[in-house]
Symmetry: C2
Subunit: 190 residues, 2 copies
């Protein structure tokens, strides 16, 4: 199990003793996903929060016309879940799919709750993670309200430099909120 990355991820915000590290690592369930395999589908309850160690995940919804809308990408060192479903433990609306062969470390809702009680520092850790995610979600909202597709694409390039070259363009188009056809038109006009 590839654990360096997740320990360094946590060390950015809280300090753990070796015992605490061992206790935490014992809770993680590793999982390997093939390209296009789903970690979660619409209507399921999201029972795990997953940390990506290799590959890449994306979360998206399918609206009533069958259009996909990408909510987030998770390259290595990112956490991913259907947050609504994970916190409420009710059926969610997101699909979470591997974009390529991907490895994750999964922490169940129950184990996370246990962790909060046993090692309160983890409550701080996840609070900080969610605070940052919230700020970035709000910024993206404002960007969608006030910037052109061109400008949102520039933002995307800065936020996910590693993904710009590796991801299919249609996925990037969906994330910034335009059709692949318009994205293509836009890329000619530079």
């Amino acid at each position: 199990m590839q654990t360096d990355l997740v320990l360094r991820n946590i060390a950015k915000h809280i300090q753990l003793t070796p015992d605490e590290q061992a206790y935490f690592l014992a809770l993680l369930k590793p999982k390997t996903l093939k390209r296009k395999e789903f970690l979660l589908e619409e209507g399921e309850v999201c029972r795990y929060s997953s940390f990506v160690t290799k590959g890449c995940l994306r979360s998206y919804t399918l609206n009533k016309n069958g259009d996909e809308h990408v909510l987030a990408f998770a390259p290595p060192d990112w956490w991913m879940a259907d947050m609504y479903s994970f916190i409420s433990q009710k059926p969610g609306t997101l699909f979470i799919e591997a974009m390529e062969p991907t490895e994750v470390l999964m922490l169940s809702k129950a184990d996370q709750q246990q962790l909060y009680s046993d090692i309160p520092k983890f409550e701080r850790f996840f609070r900080i993670i969610v605070e940052n995610a919230f700020v970035s979600s709000q910024q993206r909202l404002l960007d969608n309200l006030s910037l052109t597709a061109q400008e949102r694409f520039r933002n995307f390039c800065q936020k996910y430099p590693s993904l710009v070259t590796t991801l299919p363009r249609k996925q990037i188009a969906s994330y910034i909120g335009v059709t692949p056809e318009f994205f293509s038109k836009m890329m000619k006009t530079v």
Copy 2:
């Protein structure tokens, strides 16, 4: 000082002893705002998280063309801050303005940190608050990507029933992401 509301707000997620309640309440600074008075302006550091007990706040940005974009409304029982600035203690981009005569209870960043150490339950409380805010921000993002203005307006009516009748229409238009002119056109077509 009007403290019932904030104590009930907290009691939704954590249980406090009378001593803890008293300790918490002693940290809050009440403030009264006139209509159109600012609680925070662009470029300032957001030093407080504010709980609304009366009236209503809104947060918005001004883009380079001078257009306002409403990020959030806070009627009574809601918390409001420029989250980016509050967590980083760097200058932010939001304006926070009173829509009408408004009363808030303000908790400083330093006091919040102290509270986390002294009464770890508060770390849980604010984690839960931010989790919910994050989920709702993500849902709004998806709504902006996949719904029409008409549908977003219906969502707004469900989310903030008390504001639909009291707020100027141009503010609602800005929140759902359309111009007041288009909003007006849209309201005729029902």
